[in-house]
C-alpha cells in the first residue's frame, strides 16, 4: 500500500519530467547512452561506442546546435516566427567565404568577419520583410530560401571553391587535447571551442543578461501588450532575424572547414539544414508560438540527437543507418510535440 506522500512524490516526478524540458532531455540522454553502452558490451555494434567515439561525434553537433540557437531566436520573437532560409544562407555565405579566403587571399579573421557580416545582411533581408513589411515569416523565408539557394549555385557556375587555403582549413575540424586534464578525457573537436561555445554563451548572455533579451521574450509572449508597453517591437523582431543570419554566416565557415571546400549546395543538399535546426529547437522546448525557450534546452537536444544518431550509425550496416536516423528524428519530434500538447492540457505549459 502506497502512502499519500509516496504517491505525491511520484506525481511530482512525472510533473517535473513533463514541465521541465531540460530534466526530460537529461533523462533521455542517459537512457540513449546507457542503451548503446549495453549494446556495445554485448557486441551488437559494428564499432565500439565509447567516450572517444561520443566525443568525436560532437563534430556534427557544432553546426546543428548553432543553427538550432538561430532558429530559437526567431521562433522566440513570436507571430509565427520561423526561418526556413538558414540552410540557403549557409550555402551563400559559404561561397562568399570561399571567395574572400580562398580566391582573394584575405586574412582568415577578416574573411570570417566578412562572412558573418554578410550572413547578418541576408538575415536583415528576412527581418525587414517580416518585421517592417509584415510578411508572415514562413512565406518571407520560403522566398529567400529559394532566392539564396539559387544565387549560391549561380554565383560560381555551380563549381565548389577548394583552393589550397580552403583545404588547409580542414584542420579547424580536428580534435584537440584539452589543457590541464586533457590526458584523462577524450580529445574534443576544435570547433566546439572556437565556434559552438562562444555562440552558445553569447546567445545566453543576450537572452538572459541584456534588455534586448527581455524585450524578445516580451514580444514573443504578447506582441500587442509589448507594443502598448512602449517596446520597440519591430526593431526587436528585426534584430532576431539579423542574429539568425549572423549565426548562419558563422556556420558557413564551420561547414566550409568540415568539407574542406566551399560547396554551393552545402546547406540545402538532401534534407537541408533548416529542418533539423527547427527540429532541434522544438525538441529543446522552444514553443513554436514564441516567448518560451532556453539555450540549455537547445544544447541538450543537440547532444541527444547527435549521440542517438552516432549510435544508430554503428547499429546498422551500410546506408541503413542513415535511414534509421530519419526514423529516430521523426519519432522523437512527434513524441516531443505530443508531449507538449499533453503538458499544456495537464499543467498549462512548460516552464522552461
Amino acid at each position: 500500500m502506497t502512502t499519500v506522500a509516496e504517491k505525491r512524490e511520484k506525481t511530482d516526478f512525472v510533473k517535473i519530467l513533463l514541465t521541465q524540458r531540460i530534466a526530460l532531455l537529461a533523462v533521455l540522454i542517459v537512457v540513449v547512452v546507457v542503451t548503446f553502452f549495453i549494446n556495445d558490451a554485448g557486441g551488437y555494434l559494428t564499432a565500439p561506442y565509447d567516450f572517444d567515439y561520443m566525443s568525436a561525434s560532437l563534430i556534427s553537433a557544432v553546426p546543428l546546435a548553432m543553427l538550432g540557437l538561430a532558429e530559437m531566436l526567431v521562433i522566440l520573437s513570436g507571430r509565427g516566427g520561423i526561418d526556413l532560409s538558414v540552410g540557403a544562407m549557409v550555402s551563400l555565405a559559404g561561397m562568399v567565404f570561399g571567395f574572400a579566403y580562398g580566391e582573394w587571399g584575405w586574412p582568415l579573421w577578416l574573411a570570417i568577419l566578412a562572412t558573418a557580416g554578410f550572413g547578418a545582411l541576408l538575415g536583415a533581408v528576412n527581418g525587414f520583410l517580416v518585421s517592417y513589411i509584415g510578411f508572415p515569416a514562413l512565406i518571407a523565408t520560403l522566398a529567400t530560401f529559394y532566392a539564396y539557394k539559387s544565387l549560391a549555385i549561380v554565383i560560381n557556375n555551380q563549381q565548389p571553391i577548394s583552393t589550397k587555403p580552403i583545404q588547409e582549413l580542414f584542420s579547424l575540424s580536428r580534435s584537440v587535447e584539452l589543457p590541464l586534464f586533457g590526458e584523462y578525457v577524450p580529445n574534443v573537436p576544435l570547433g566546439i571551442f572556437t565556434f559552438l561555445l562562444p555562440t552558445a554563451v553569447a546567445v545566453w548572455l543576450l537572452l538572459a543578461r541584456t534588455a534586448y533579451g527581455r524585450r524578445l521574450y516580451a514580444i514573443g509572449t504578447n506582441d500587442v501588450a509589448a507594443r502598448w508597453a512602449g517596446l520597440p517591437v519591430r526593431d526587436t523582431r528585426f534584430k532576431a532575424y539579423v542574429y539568425a543570419g549572423l549565426i548562419s554566416g558563422l556556420v558557413a565557415v564551420v561547414t566550409v572547414g568540415q568539407f574542406a571546400s566551399a560547396r554551393p549546395d552545402a546547406g540545402v543538399s538532401g534534407n537541408g539544414m533548416a529542418l533539423p535546426a527547427i527540429t532541434i529547437a522544438v525538441l529543446g522546448g522552444v514553443a513554436i508560438t514564441g516567448g518560451i525557450g532556453r539555450v540549455s534546452g537547445v544544447v541538450l537536444a543537440t547532444l541527444l540527437i547527435v549521440w542517438l544518431n552516432a549510435g544508430i550509425l554503428l547499429a546498422f550496416v551500410g546506408n541503413e543507418g542513415s535511414q534509421y536516423q530519419l526514423l529516430a528524428l521523426g519519432a522523437v519530434l512527434v513524441f516531443a510535440a505530443l508531449l507538449n500538447g499533453l503538458t499544456n492540457r495537464r499543467y498549462g505549459g512548460t516552464t522552461s
Binding site: 509565427g80 520561423i82 526556413l84 520583410l129 513589411i133 509584415g134 510578411f135 508572415p136 514562413l138 512565406i139 518571407a140 520560403l142 522566398a143 529567400t144 530560401f145 529559394y146 532566392a147 539564396y148 539557394k149 539559387s150 544565387l151 549555385i153 549561380v154 557556375n157 555551380q158 538532401g270 534534407n271 529542418l275 527547427i278 527540429t279 522544438v282 513554436i288 508560438t289 551500410g318 546506408n319 535511414q323 534509421y324 530519419l326 526514423l327 528524428l329 521523426g330 519519432a331 519530434l333 512527434v334 510535440a337 505530443l338 507538449n340 500538447g341 499544456n344 492540457r345
Partner: protein, 331 residues
Amino acid sequence: MTAVTEAKIRRRVLPSPITGQEIVLVGVIVLLWAALAVSTPAFLTAGSIQPLLVATAPVALVGVAMTIVIITGGIDVSVGGAIMVCSVLTAKALVGAEVNLGVAVLLSIAAGGVLGLVNGVLIAYGRVHAIIITFGTANLFMFLGLRIFGSGTVNGIPGTLAFFGRGPDGRTLGIPHAFLITLVITAVAWWYLRHTAGGRHFFAIGGDAQAARLAGVRVQRRILLAYVLTGVLVGLASCFVIAQGTSTLDQSVGSGKELAVIAAVVIGGTSIMGGRGSVLGTLLGALLVQSVVSGVTQLGWRSQLSDLFVGIFIIVAVGADLLRARARRAR
C-alpha cells in the same frame, strides 16, 4: 421579390467568384507567355506547352489539397515524403506484380490516404501545431520510402501509366490527361469550397476555430478530412510523377516538393494565417511557377536561376496581397 432578396443575400455572403489576386496572376502569366513567345518562337507550340501543362499537374493537384489545409490554418510539409512513399510503392507494384492502371492508381491513392490519416489524427486529436507534426512525419515518411526503395533505384517501370504521361497516349485532343484531371478536381474543389456548408466550414475553422466550434462545426473531423484529402491527392499526383519520368525512379523523388507546393499556394493568394484562399489561385500559381522554370530553360539561362524568380514572385505576389489587405482595413 423573395428571389431578388435571396440573390442579394447570396451576393453579400459569398466572396466574389474570382479574387483580385487571380486576375493579376492571369495578367502576369499572359505577359510572361507573350514575352517568351517573342523571345523564343518555339515557346508557343504544342511541343512546348504540353510538357509545361503535364509538369504543372502534380504540383497543382497537391496544391488544391494544401490550399484547403492552409485555409483551416494548418500546413503540411510532409507531402514531399508522402509523394516518395506513394510513388515508390506504386512503381514497385508496377514492376513486380505488373498491376494494371486502375489497380496502380487505387493503390497509390490508398497509400496516400493512410499517410494523410496519420497526419490528420495526430494534428486533429493530438492538438499539436501542424507544422511540427508534419516536420516529424516528413522524416518518418522519408524513412518509409527509403526502406521500400531498398538499395538504389527502381528500374524497368512498364508504360502502364502512360495515360498520365507526356507521350501521345497521355493526351486527348492535344490536352494532357494529367492537366485535364487536375482542372476538373480544381473545379470541383472550387465549387465545394464556395457553395456547400461543408466547404465554408473550412474557412470558418481557419478564421476562428473556437468560434466555429461554438457555431456547431465539427472542427476536429473537418481538420482530419483536410489532411486525408491531401494524402489522397498526393497519391494521385504520385502516379503523374511516375508517368512523367523515365522507366527509372530514383531516391530523390518528391524531395523539395513540399516547398514548391506551398510556393504555388501562397502565390495564388491563399493566406498562410488561414481563413482565406482559393484553389483557382493555386492552379494559376503552379502554372506561373512552371512557366518560369520552362521559360528560363528555353531562354538558355542556367536552370537554377528559376529558383531566384520563384522567390521574387512569392515576395511580389504576397506583398501585393498585403498591400490590398492594408487598403481593405483602411477603408
